[in-house]
Subunit: 452 residues, 2 copies
Amino acid sequence: MDEMFETLVENIKELIHSKNWAKLKVILEDMNEQDIAELFMELEERELTLVYRLLPKELAAEVFVNMEPEYQEALIRAFSDSELREVLDELYVDDAVDMIEEMPATLVKRILRHTDPEVRKSINEILRYPEDSAGSIMTIEYVDLKRNMTVADAFTRIRRTGVDKETIYTCYVTDSKRKLKGVVTAKDLLLSDESDLIRDIMEPNVISASTFEDKEVVADMFQKYDLLALPVVDSEERLVGIVTVDDAIDVLQEEATEDIEKMAAITPTDKPYLKMSVIENFKKRIPWLMLLMVSATFTEKIINHFEGTLTACVALTAFIPMLTGTCGNCGAQSSATIIRGLSLGDIEFRDTLKVIFKELRIALVCGIALAIVNFAKLMIFDSVGPWVALVVSFTMIMAVVFAKVVGSVLPVIAKKVGFDPAVMSSPFISTIVDAVTLLIYFTVATNILNLK
Amino acid sequence: MDEMFETLVENIKELIHSKNWAKLKVILEDMNEQDIAELFMELEERELTLVYRLLPKELAAEVFVNMEPEYQEALIRAFSDSELREVLDELYVDDAVDMIEEMPATLVKRILRHTDPEVRKSINEILRYPEDSAGSIMTIEYVDLKRNMTVADAFTRIRRTGVDKETIYTCYVTDSKRKLKGVVTAKDLLLSDESDLIRDIMEPNVISASTFEDKEVVADMFQKYDLLALPVVDSEERLVGIVTVDDAIDVLQEEATEDIEKMAAITPTDKPYLKMSVIENFKKRIPWLMLLMVSATFTEKIINHFEGTLTACVALTAFIPMLTGTCGNCGAQSSATIIRGLSLGDIEFRDTLKVIFKELRIALVCGIALAIVNFAKLMIFDSVGPWVALVVSFTMIMAVVFAKVVGSVLPVIAKKVGFDPAVMSSPFISTIVDAVTLLIYFTVATNILNLK
């Protein structure tokens, strides 16, 4: 696949070099917009602007939408005013908004100047919604019907509106004040008689979202209710736009990426890794590293406090990384499980006690199993004394129980008090677990080995 | 939301208790199938079988599909043979397959006995595909057209087939041997003249998947190409079924959950956390914990080897958890970034060198920043000597660079040799990073402090 793609890029570059436009056109016409976009993004800027002009008008706009902002920018800079207007005319409002959000201010001005005034107004409205709201990801292209229309009227209206594939299959019924009154699917229309009234075939209980609803909540509704589109209403229940399933999928994927990044102590951004500079990556990573490094002062203080114990039995030092590492992994397992469960809605706040009790039991079984294997290993392979082996193994059980309970409780509490549970994950929990594991270790050692 | 739901559950239970079926029916008729399913799953088994019978036939089947397997099982056990047949008649084949996969063998037999023979054959065929293949998640309900049909013929065929919402909007054109020849959307049909021929309006370049294609690859295609449905073909290019977008969303979410679980050293399963027993959870977690605990033997050996260094300068011990912890976090950041990038297709194997070079530079900047802050902290707050502070800070830079490079390279290599990159994440990398950090630490200390 990868190699086929590279061969294709080579062929295209050769055809551009030999100015064989006719053959290029034939090749491009057989490809779909997403694949053409990926191909074009492998070209030099000069090559890109040349081949882009070979595309038929409608396909050109679709390819444009599928390209990364930096390539869109290069194209817009190369466009004449009339070329720019042609592309803009073909764009859907939500795609235009996505593009404008990524462009430098000077280009945004030029883009808006060449946009149809009606569309410009809509773009400006959508740009005003908060970044992560339903309003910011909705499109204003949809089919609206009235209750006293017939099915035949509805088909005429669909043909006249003629909008995008995701937006045509669910039609929304509004009253004279544009309030949302019902929903009719293209399937309902196709299976009804031409003379049936919309009011009789529409579903009056509509699942909708407010413009200010969090886009992650909206995306979760698509998954829960298996939707293709979701209507967005303003504070007076007036229909203002719809969110389509392709955008919901993107939000679900972004949401998972954000969780993974937070769980690895990274500040999330929307930008793909390879597009970010070293300094941008540094800024995403350093705050958490600093915070966690400074928090590790606790482990230093604990070790210093028990310096006497360590001097009396230097062998104990060797097991510190193994103990903190294993307990850190135990905490990471619990927190990852709970964070993902919360994010998928499998776990709710009312499950807290059930979760703690379950983790407690899992921790006991894991802790005992680890302790037994560890005790055997210490006695057989590391030939330490039975008392040291006992100290290490007993610490293991207690620290594993602590790690798993903390790892499961903190994300739930974070969610309850309004933080993102994903922050309470592996790195953060390891820092707490490290300190407590050491405290348990030295206390157990001091008592069992009768040190100091 | 949560509280409203609990009040509703209370109300329903009261109405069941007072046998107020009429009012119950009115309440249920205003709700959608997903919400009714959630409500029903809060009831006792006896209550559930009572209220379920209040639902109209078609709604009952939809509610049934949306319930967890254990509740479906309870209902099937309570059904008479004719009730069972009624529900089964309303199910789509892919939903029936999903259900059967979760049922005990005795119930499966009873279910298949009451299924229409034609459908039973399809169910058995789908059950034969490998668990994670396109074939296993496809449905066999779709609209197929022939090239010489007119648009009017197509509408008649859609009305006669009358299938589910996801499966009606993309129609597939096949030849006499059932080979896939093209695709026509409902939008194309609606915007064409009734007398147009399908061969003239169909798109002949169809994006399709083979029955044995990995379901994750199929789900990624939905995201890449913004599809509502994807045709599945056998080895002879014959159309055998389609995958719909709602199933693709579920696969994308499962995929992200699996990545998160693997990144936290958990063996993934499909079962939600609260449905798994303590022992099932234990089995998912203990293999990795054991493996990583035993691998920590390296850190023990290294510390034992440098016992002389530690005895000569006990103060060094205090910084071990801070160093291994911080470097572990650095490695975790890199590996999480790269693993997610690989999984989203943002990073390919050909980017390896670019990735290593970028991580190297990020690591240097992070390492130097951490070392400076750490040096200042050690001198000002911990009042250790400047040489010890230098040892710790210098180790920090070198170990951070190592951690970030290893954290980014291992997932890429894993992917190249056919493993899941997600396994090469935080816990695994921490184990390597711990050992190397200690090696660097003691080597630097021995040389700078002139110990032993």
